[in-house]
């Protein structure tokens, strides 16, 4: 069974003048362990698509199954818990709680899940080491570079042991060196820990790293290539 099954997905915004078909009939399966890029020009519907898959935005039509569960059949309270336990999120910016240190940001999500303190501390240390920030654990986000912040966000996304990680343009605000660094870390986690990553981008260097590249335009899949 695929981790994610997407069936006939639509998102139509009823604007005052024109309706916008941001996602216009997508069918797609994502398997465990994939390292997949969603690419396409600005306004093609990448963010909308990821929001529908991540349980953040309600589709106009169609279904999203995660491990066989129909995500959009869940009541809104259940849906928040579903996101907490099943999906890791990395956004373009504003990923972290500014008043918490790197360590606390990672720990926070495990606390929401009800982990014991001991387990939290251990996993936090492991994850921040894995993203190369063992020495910046006690820094607040404002004291970290953009790339470092995104790495903390990746560690935070993984902390909850999600079924997959959704990353909407995680490198959009990063310079090329930080971009490469972040992608290397994600790739390593994917290969060594079998973490499933789905990320959107329009950065050619990022696309190069992906093993599967899904190109969308005007809310439809244009190409779906696996290397």
């Amino acid at each position: 069974m695929s981790v994610i099954e997407i069936k006939n997905l639509y998102k139509i915004y009823d604007g005052s003048e024109v309706e916008v078909r941001a996602v216009n009939g997508i069918n797609l399966n994502i398997e465990e362990g994939e390292f997949t890029a969603i690419v396409g020009p600005s306004g093609s519907g990448k963010t909308t698509f990821l929001n529908l898959v991540g349980g953040l935005d309600k589709p106009t039509d169609g279904k999203v199954f995660v491990d066989g569960i129909d995500v959009w059949s869940l009541k809104s309270r259940k849906l928040i818990d579903f996101r907490l336990h099943n999906i890791g999120f990395v956004f373009q910016s504003y990923n972290l709680i500014p008043v918490l240190t790197a360590k606390e940001n990672v720990e926070f999500i495990m606390q929401l899940q009800g982990w014991s303190r001991k387990d939290r501390i251990k996993r936090t240390g492991d994850l921040l080491k894995a993203v190369g920030l063992a020495d910046r654990m006690d820094s607040r986000p404002a004291k970290l570079s953009g790339g470092q912040q995104q790495r903390v966000a990746v560690a935070r996304a993984l902390a909850s042991k999600p079924k997959f990680v959704l990353a909407d343009e995680p490198t959009a605000n990063l310079d090329s060196k930080s971009t490469e660094n972040l992608l290397d870390i994600m790739e390593k986690l994917n290969q060594e820990e079998k973490i499933t990553f789905i990320f959107s981008t329009h950065d050619a260097r990022v696309i190069k790293k992906a093993r599967r590249v899904i190109t969308i335009e005007d809310g439809r899949i244009l190409k779906d290539e696996t290397k």
């Binding site: 935005d57 309270r77 928040i80 504003y94 709680i97």
Partner: protein, 405 residues
């Protein structure tokens, strides 16, 4: 971690938080101090009434108080007083003969309350003997000595050594008169009292009124401790049978009312202050929610549920309010404690207050329970102030919030 997030969030915008915290602190400080001030004033007023006049407990024949009917005397008052005096909690018993009548000088006359007292016993119960500004408290063995208030002396135009005539009814309804010589003048700082009270010796008044030996109209009793009044009252009641035994709250309900009204007034005052502050806190919290829309959206997206988001905002509002509240309580409490032993001089406005029986100097009276209750009220204010902003935060749609640039 929710607690530490909310607490640290308070200090994200230091200037804005500081402004509202200072406003709360000043409001609470003013509220606490005013409460302690008025409470002190009321306490002093009550204390004075008890100490100079009412005492803690009084015993009468049941019908005496209705019309001050002089025929309603307690026949064996001396013996009863002695037995009440044996109750351990009782620190003094004074038997009094009381009649409302006329005091006249060569020039004019004035209605007065004449109290016949036994000086030794009376001074264990009331402190009038300490309020003399001239003369002494029945120390000389003279015939018919009398002690009057300074205001009456002024009105009758008499001074130390002057003679005044008391005209009154005896027990057989005959009009009798007695000449008394002023041996002392008192000032209790209660103008009305000082104009309408005179004191003579118990036996002089009894003889004039032809009351039987050992009789009295009133037994005034002082108890060692305020807290013991009720139980002592019950003990006295068992000794006195069908006589009326009343505590000061029953004898002078207006004093008791003053006490309770002051408490109520204090809280109304503080609630008004908090109500005004409420809008400042709401405003601050709304700004907080508005500028953190993206952050709150992110938190909801990654799985922070509504209850936790709600709690995060409510806690921040509580911490903000409580910081101001605690500073205010400490400041107000500190100032109030200082003025518990250092008097506040109101003598510039003293005349009016004194006629009403208030001291020209006020010592504050701070109750610890006030500080606790004010702190609780501040917390409640913080919670109320956060409700609308927290509701706003929850109405946030994470997908929309995250799209905001």
């Amino acid at each position: 971690m929710l607690f530490s997030i909310s607490w640290r969030n308070v200090w994200r915008n230091k200037l804005r938080s500081a402004v509202i915290i200072i406003a709360i602190a000043l409001g609470i400080c003013a509220g606490v101090f005013s409460s302690a001030f008025y409470k002190g004033m009321a306490d002093q007023r009550i204390d004075k009434a008890i100490k100079t006049e009412i005492s803690h407990i009084q015993v009468h024949r049941p019908k005496f108080r209705q019309a001050n009917d002089i025929s309603q005397f307690i026949p064996e008052a001396d013996e009863l007083a002695a037995r009440i005096g044996e109750i351990p909690e009782v620190s003094g018993v004074s038997s009094r003969i009381i009649i409302f009548s006329m005091a006249s000088s060569a020039e004019t006359a004035s209605g007065v309350k004449i109290s016949g007292v036994m000086p030794g016993e009376e001074s264990k119960v009331t402190n009038l003997h300490t309020k003399l500004i001239e003369g002494n408290y029945f120390e000389e063995e003279r015939r018919n000595p009398i002690i009057v208030g300074w205001k009456l002396a002024e009105k009758l135009n008499v001074k130390m050594g002057s003679k005044i005539v008391l005209t009154l009814q005896d027990i057989d309804n005959n009009i009798v008169a007695g000449a008394f010589r002023i041996i002392g003048i008192f000032n209790t700082a209660n103008g009305i009292y000082d104009e309408s009270n005179v004191f003579v010796k118990h036996e002089d008044l009894r003889r004039l009124m032809e009351l039987p030996d050992h009789s009295a109209h009133e037994l005034a009793i002082l108890v060692e401790d305020n807290e013991l009044i009720r139980e002592t009252q019950e003990k006295i009641q068992t000794l006195t049978g069908n006589l009326e035994v009343l505590s000061w709250t029953e004898l002078s309900p207006e004093m008791n009312y003053l006490n309770e009204a002051m408490d109520l007034f204090m809280y109304i005052f503080i609630i008004i202050i908090l109500f005004a502050l409420l809008f400042g806190i709401i405003n601050t919290m709304l700004m907080v929610v508005l500028e953190r829309i993206k952050e709150i959206g992110m938190l909801m997206a990654i799985g922070m549920n509504r209850l936790r988001v709600f709690m995060m905002i409510v806690l921040e509002s509580i911490f903000l309010s409580l910081t101001g509240g605690v500073i205010g309580v400490l400041m107000g409490g500190g100032i109030s404690i200082y003025f518990e032993t250092n008097r506040i001089d109101l003598s510039m406005w003293g005349e009016v207050y004194q006629d009403l029986g208030y001291d020209p100097y006020v010592y504050t009276s701070l109750e610890f329970s006030l500080l606790v209750n004010v702190t609780i009220l501040v917390i409640i204010t913080g919670i109320i102030a956060s409700l609308y902003p927290a509701y706003k935060a929850l109405k946030n749609d994470p997908a929309d919030a995250l799209r905001i640039e």
